[in-house]
């Protein structure tokens, strides 16, 4: 009972130390070279190229790819003629707190890169290796299905 003040103060001090510990992760940047490792297998669903008499064709392709972390990335690509008009994410492959955080930042970066490059030949995002690899692979498969590039 005499030691109570010591015990209480050291508990408080320990708590302050532990609670003030900050986790960090490197900020995401566009890499200069695309990562070569692809960690998943591709499982595709069929695309629907529509043939029509008009000069522009509208096509939609979807693809699902396993990420190396075991969850699925699923993209839907919309193209008009040979121009990619939209890439939407159906599933972004997050399955835990860290990937959730990473993917919410990395995916928009990959998206804008792909739209401006109009292909799947894009630089990955460093700090989001698996997401980038799976995204690129998924995008390429979807584009192949609708016959672009």
């Amino acid at each position: 009972m005499r030691r109570a003040p010591i015990v209480i103060t050291s508990t408080a001090a320990g708590l302050v130390l532990v609670l003030s510990f900050h986790t960090s992760r490197p900020s995401l940047q566009i890499k200069s070279a695309t990562s070569g490792t692809v960690g998943g297998t591709s499982r595709g669903t069929s695309g629907h190229p529509t043939s029509s008499t008009s000069s522009t064709t509208e096509a939609t392709g979807t693809d699902t790819t396993h990420t190396a972390t075991g969850s699925d990335i699923q993209l839907e690509v919309k193209a008009s003629g040979s121009k990619i008009t939209n890439i939407s994410i159906v599933q972004d492959g997050s399955n835990d707190g860290l990937s959730y955080q990473i993917n919410s930042e990395a995916v928009p970066i990959l998206q804008s890169e792909a739209l401006s490059a109009q292909s799947a030949q894009i630089d990955g995002v460093s700090g989001a290796t698996y997401t980038s690899a799976a995204y690129v692979q998924s995008l390429q498969s979807a584009l192949d299905k609708i016959g672009i590039q």
Partner: protein, 457 residues
């Protein structure tokens, strides 16, 4: 100064309308809920996986780690609830049995949470194609609140290790109790990393909400029944010591005066945790049985001076305020299954027997056996004799050591020939109680008719 005999001249308080009756259906329902909850935790772990995830590198280890984490945490919360002193559960099962279950359950959450830490580290390491130690540093450095969880886990393990019988014998009760209190802090520290990182919770608002609800419900239950209710009850009854009286050498009765004592819902044989708010005593609470039914506005407890604290009670200043917690205990007239009872009290164990005798339903046939090493230690001899005479029961007063009156199978059969038709209530030192229970069983008393009050928890 008020003493026991003065108090006894007051007529007993009319029993309160609400009685602390055991409710086995509620306890059964609680057991079912606990089982369902455990199943739900396993289901949470399973549904967080996809077939691809399990076959990916590190997938199986990560799944095992998640399963271990969910179930280990759930069992910890159940352990908290077991000792939360929920009134309906406590008066049906009894605090000693609840503590026994708490102790037996104790090691499993520790094993499961250790497995959780190891499996998650190795699983993530395999998936990231890196070494386990490197992955560990990533977990601590990049994943939210993991360091807090590790510190919390350390506190849990310390509390568990110091509770092993071999360790407990070596450390003082106060030290053990303080270390054990850190379990609350450990659990609080570990909570946030579950929601921030758990695969079952990230991006799944419904399971998140359910998990949070489980924690809030547990915390709320503990807070209400271990803090709020006792504090409120103590303030409401405003008990103060008005008499300290020696019943026998080393045995003292303390009479307290309170407000609204007739509203105290207590059965004979029950006990309270008593906290005497005097210098050097206010930070300890000890369980003592009432040695008589309440006689508004008075309550009486009788204590044997064995340790530092109980010895101090003999010099308790009149007017000392008292905080109580309870009433607790399943050792009541409600526990009986027949209309004939045998009450056995040895030494200071006579205390709850005396209260139980007074509270026993009038149509019940009672046989009372009390034993003490000397005549002066046969406390409440006169009170018990007059209670038994007034209701036409049988009384056996045994003076002498265990050798003189062994209360073994042969002796019991002679004293109480129809013991097999009675409910047997036993109170006394541990080894005596064990022997008597064994003897009763051999004489044909079924387990559900043997009731014990154990002072040493």
């Amino acid at each position: 100064m008020m003493d026991g005999t003065e108090m006894q001249s007051i007529p007993p308080t009319v029993p309160a309308r609400r009685q602390p009756r055991p409710n086995h259906r509620v306890v059964d329902a609680a057991a079912v809920a606990v089982g369902l909850g455990l199943g739900a935790c396993v289901a949470l772990a399973v549904t967080a996986e996809t077939k691809g995830a399990l076959s990916a590198p590190g997938g199986l280890a990560t799944f095992g780690g998640r399963l271990a984490g969910l179930t280990g945490t759930y069992l910890l919360l159940i352990m908290l609830l077991l000792v939360a002193r929920i009134p309906v559960i406590e008066r049906t099962v009894g605090q000693d049995r609840l503590l026994h279950w708490h102790r037996r359950l104790g090691q499993w959450p520790i094993y499961l949470l250790t497995a959780h830490a190891v499996l998650i580290t190795f699983g993530y390491a395999e998936q990231a194609k890196t070494g386990a130690w490197h992955e560990f540093t990533i977990l601590v450095g990049s994943y939210a609140d993991v360091l807090m969880a590790i510190v919390g886990f350390g506190l849990l393990v310390t509390a568990a290790v110091t509770s092993i019988r071999a360790a407990r014998r070596r450390i003082r009760y106060e030290t053990w109790w303080t270390i054990h209190l850190y379990v609350y802090l450990g659990l609080a520290l570990a909570f946030s990393h579950q929601l921030a990182n758990g695969a079952s919770f990230v991006g799944h608002p419904l399971t998140r909400a359910l998990w949070v609800a489980l924690w809030v419900a547990t915390a709320g239950t503990v807070l209400v029944f271990r803090v709020v209710l006792p504090v409120a009850r103590s303030a409401w009854h405003d008990l103060r010591v008005v008499g300290v009286h020696e019943e026998a050498p080393g045995v003292v009765s303390i009479v307290c005066h309170g407000r609204n004592v007739e509203g105290l819902v207590v059965a004979g044989g029950q006990f309270f945790q008593w906290r005497f708010l005097a210098r050097g005593m206010w930070w300890q609470a000890h369980p003592y049985s009432l040695s008589a039914m309440p006689r508004s506005p008075y309550l009486r407890v009788t204590v044997k001076a064995t340790g530092d604290h109980s010895r101090r009670l003999t010099r308790l200043p009149i007017g000392t305020r008292v905080a109580i917690e309870g009433p607790y205990g399943a050792f009541t007239r409600h526990a009986r299954n027949t209309n004939k009872v045998l009450l056995v009290g040895v030494g200071v164990g006579i205390t709850p027997i005396r209260a139980l005798l007074e509270d026993m339903d009038p149509w019940v046939d009672v046989t009372v056996v009390i034993r003490a090493s000397s005549a002066e230690h046969l406390i409440f001899r006169d009170e018990i004799r007059s209670l038994v005479t007034n209701r036409g029961g049988q009384l056996h007063e045994l003076v002498g050591s265990r050798r003189a009156h062994p209360l073994d199978q042969r002796h019991l059969r002679r004293l109480v020939p129809d013991i097999a038709q009675r409910d047997v209530y036993v109170c006394g030192p541990g080894d005596f109680g064990d022997a008597l229970v064994a003897a009763s069983r051999r004489l044909g008393v079924p387990d559900n008719r043997i009731h014990r009050e154990q002072f040493a928890f």
